[in-house]
């Protein structure tokens, strides 16, 4: 009976998970989605816990859950700029969990009931631990790179024969896995198991090492789908359909997001994973010679006052500078003057999908004023002033024609079509792709050098001052 009840709750939980993701496809219903997810998880936990036949010890469970809350809560308060790191970090937790459960299952059955180590289940266990542990270390690395931790190299690290070594490791792990499937309970099996664990852990590190900090978002979502798949594997081991479904949902989500990112950057998976992208940094300097035209805040202010339609193109710089609230003030100032203000959101502006949307939403800017690239580009010629706010690659015209450029073919926001361009950045440094951007030298472009937050702040003062007089 209890079993039937458990099964029923699992069915319900599954349905709720699907609905959660479904509701997320529209900002209006999105929060309902979260509640559905919470409900589903709650049901799953309780249904699992409330099986007297199976769960006999409660102390450890309570402790672990309590600790989980203690650590989880602060992790949910991180500043929005740190969201990518946070996500990476919790992927690593997820991977760890899957790995540990896999390990526990194996040694449990090794000790108690060999019979259960059927080839099918053994295969599942091995898939579970390989995916789990590589996600664990891989995501830790990713988090580190994003957090720009000292002793983790930001730039892609490459060494001779790297890919051979990496792939080699994986193959060895797989081969060992096969042998384990065939002889799950020999005297030496346990050691082989540990060996596989070790290889998976190392593989995770090597996988992420050669990838540049800016490609991390893509890597993160790939790791996300690995985490999902390890949950699926766990489901196969425990014959638990809920695990299988939830894991599959997670897996496909990670996969699709990374595909979307790759498409928007016009790069291939392989290129992201093994391309050691961002090493090209060196090439940045060359362009340095050409001349920029700088503009003062005053001048910019006047230009803006006369404008009819202003399009703000935010980029990673706005995120770094945490400038969104100042931007909001600018937005208000301009609106007060009857200037139409739109935000042009590039799919991969910033460092994670939807990055800009979240930041601007945080600053209470209605998402109805955030226009996607494809919708805004046709209007750019009518745009009087385009403010390029810490964006670089996503407005780099080279993407249109320069076959040699690493971002060639990536769709961009046509800021260069606007009548005037105001570009806010701190220096002459390139963006993530490490390439020069001719937009800054264009006739119509005026540079506003400085930190995005500071510059925008000054602009606001300028404008509000203007009204004061």
């Amino acid at each position: 009976m209890i079993n039937a009840l458990t099964q029923l709750s699992y069915v319900v939980a599954t349905a709720l998970f699907v609905l959660a993701l479904h509701w997320l496809n529209d900002p209006k219903t999105a929060r309902r989605g979260v509640y559905a997810g919470v409900a589903a998880m709650l049901i799953a936990v309780l249904a699992t816990w409330a099986q007297p036949a199976i769960i006999v010890h409660h102390g450890l469970i309570v402790v672990a859950i309590a600790l989980g809350f203690l650590v989880g809560w602060p992790l949910s308060r991180v500043p929005l700029t740190a969201v990518p790191q946070r996500t990476a970090l919790s992927h690593s937790f997820g991977g760890l969990a899957a790995g540990l459960v896999g390990t526990a299952e194996y040694f449990l059955w090794l000790g108690e009931a060999h019979a259960n180590l059927t080839p099918f289940r053994m295969t599942a266990i091995i898939a579970e631990i390989i995916l789990g542990y590589l996600t664990f270390t891989g995501s830790l690395m990713a988090a580190g790179k994003l957090q720009e931790v000292k002793w983790i190299p930001q730039r892609p690290v490459t060494f001779p024969l790297q890919n051979f070594v990496t792939i080699g490791l994986l193959l060895t792990a797989v081969v060992l896995g096969v042998s384990l499937v065939l002889h799950p309970a020999e005297a030496w099996s346990a050691n082989v198991f540990m060996a596989i664990t070790g290889l998976a852990l190392i593989f995770g590190v090597l996988l992420v090492l050669p990838i540049g900090g800016a490609d991390m978002p893509t890597v993160i979502s790939i790791l996300n789908s690995y985490a999902g798949l390890s949950a699926v594997a766990m489901g196969f081991v425990l014959d638990n359909k809920l695990l299988i479904t939830a894991g599959a949902l997670d897996g496909s989500s990670g996969l699709i997001l990374s595909i979307i990112m790759c498409k928007a950057m016009n790069r291939s998976f392989v290129n992201v994973l093994f391309g050691a992208f961002g090493k090209v940094e060196a090439r940045a300097a060359e362009g340095g010679q050409k001349v920029y035209k700088s503009e003062t805040v005053e001048g910019a202010g006047q230009l803006l006052e006369q404008a009819g339609l202003v399009v703000i193109v935010p980029g990673y710089g706005m995120a770094v500078a945490q400038a969104q609230h100042k931007v909001r003030e600018l937005y208000d100032q301009l609106k007060k003057r009857g200037v139409t203000v739109r935000f042009a959101i590039h799919p991969v502006a910033g460092r994670m999908p939807g990055h800009m949307n979240v930041l601007l939403a945080e600053a209470d800017i209605p998402y109805t004023d955030l226009v996607e690239m494809d919708e805004i580009n046709p209007d750019m010629p009518q745009c009087d002033i385009a403010i390029v706010l810490g964006a670089n690659d996503v407005v780099n015209p080279a993407a249109r024609y320069d076959k040699s450029s690493p971002i060639y073919g990536m769709p961009i926001i046509d800021a260069d079509k606007a009548r005037t361009v105001l570009a806010v950045k701190r220096s002459k440094n390139p963006g993530f792709a490490g390439i020069d951007n001719e937009l800054y030298y264009a006739e119509k472009t005026w540079m506003l050098f400085g930190d995005a937050k500071a510059v925008v702040g000054d602009l606001v003062k300028q404008l509000s001052g203007g009204t004061g007089l």
């Binding site: 998970f17 479904h22 496809n25 900002p27 999105a30 929060r31 979260v34 997810g37 919470v38 998880m41 799953a44 699992t48 816990w49 036949a53 006999v56 010890h57 409660h58 450890l60 672990a64 989880g72 809560w73 992790l75 949910s76 929005l80 969201v83 946070r86 919790s90 937790f93 997820g94 760890l96 969990a97 899957a98 540990l100 526990a104 259960n116 099918f120 996300n224 985490a227 999902g228 766990m234 489901g235 196969f236 425990l238 014959d239 695990l243 299988i244 479904t245 939830a246 894991g247 949902l249 996969l255 699709i256 997001l257 979307i260 994670m352 949307n357 979240v358 939403a361 998402y367 109805t368």
Partner: protein, 112 residues
């Protein structure tokens, strides 16, 4: 779950293979759903999406609870407890931060 699954395996090799297949079925169908649903999530919400699926992937909690709570040797249950702690952290932080982000999305007058 675990132990019962174990028994099942013991009893009949007959019904076992059938089960694998239904699992495969479930996996395939779930993937279809996932792909279908995710592709329609608005670009606007891709960041929340990441953290929500991240929370959902913490479903491994189910396995962790079983391992931690069953009558197994202590070391094994310790492993389970660590796993449980890790998953719980994801659940809590994942859902909280997603909701925190979504709270911020406010539609202006016009519909999108």
């Amino acid at each position: 779950m675990l132990s019962s699954a174990a028994e099942a395996a013991h009893q009949t090799g007959g019904s076992a293979p059938l089960d694998y297949w239904s699992m495969l079925f479930v996996f395939m169908l779930a993937t279809f759903i996932g792909v279908g649903v995710i592709r329609r999530v608005s670009r606007l919400l891709h960041t929340p999406l990441m953290s929500l699926t991240n929370a959902i992937s913490a479903i491994a909690v189910v396995g962790s609870i079983i391992v931690t709570g069953s009558d197994h040797p202590r070391p094994i249950r310790i492993l389970g407890a660590i796993a449980l702690f890790a998953s719980m952290t994801n659940i809590v932080s994942g859902f909280l931060i997603t909701d925190r982000m979504l709270k911020m999305f406010k539609g202006g007058g016009a519909k999108r």
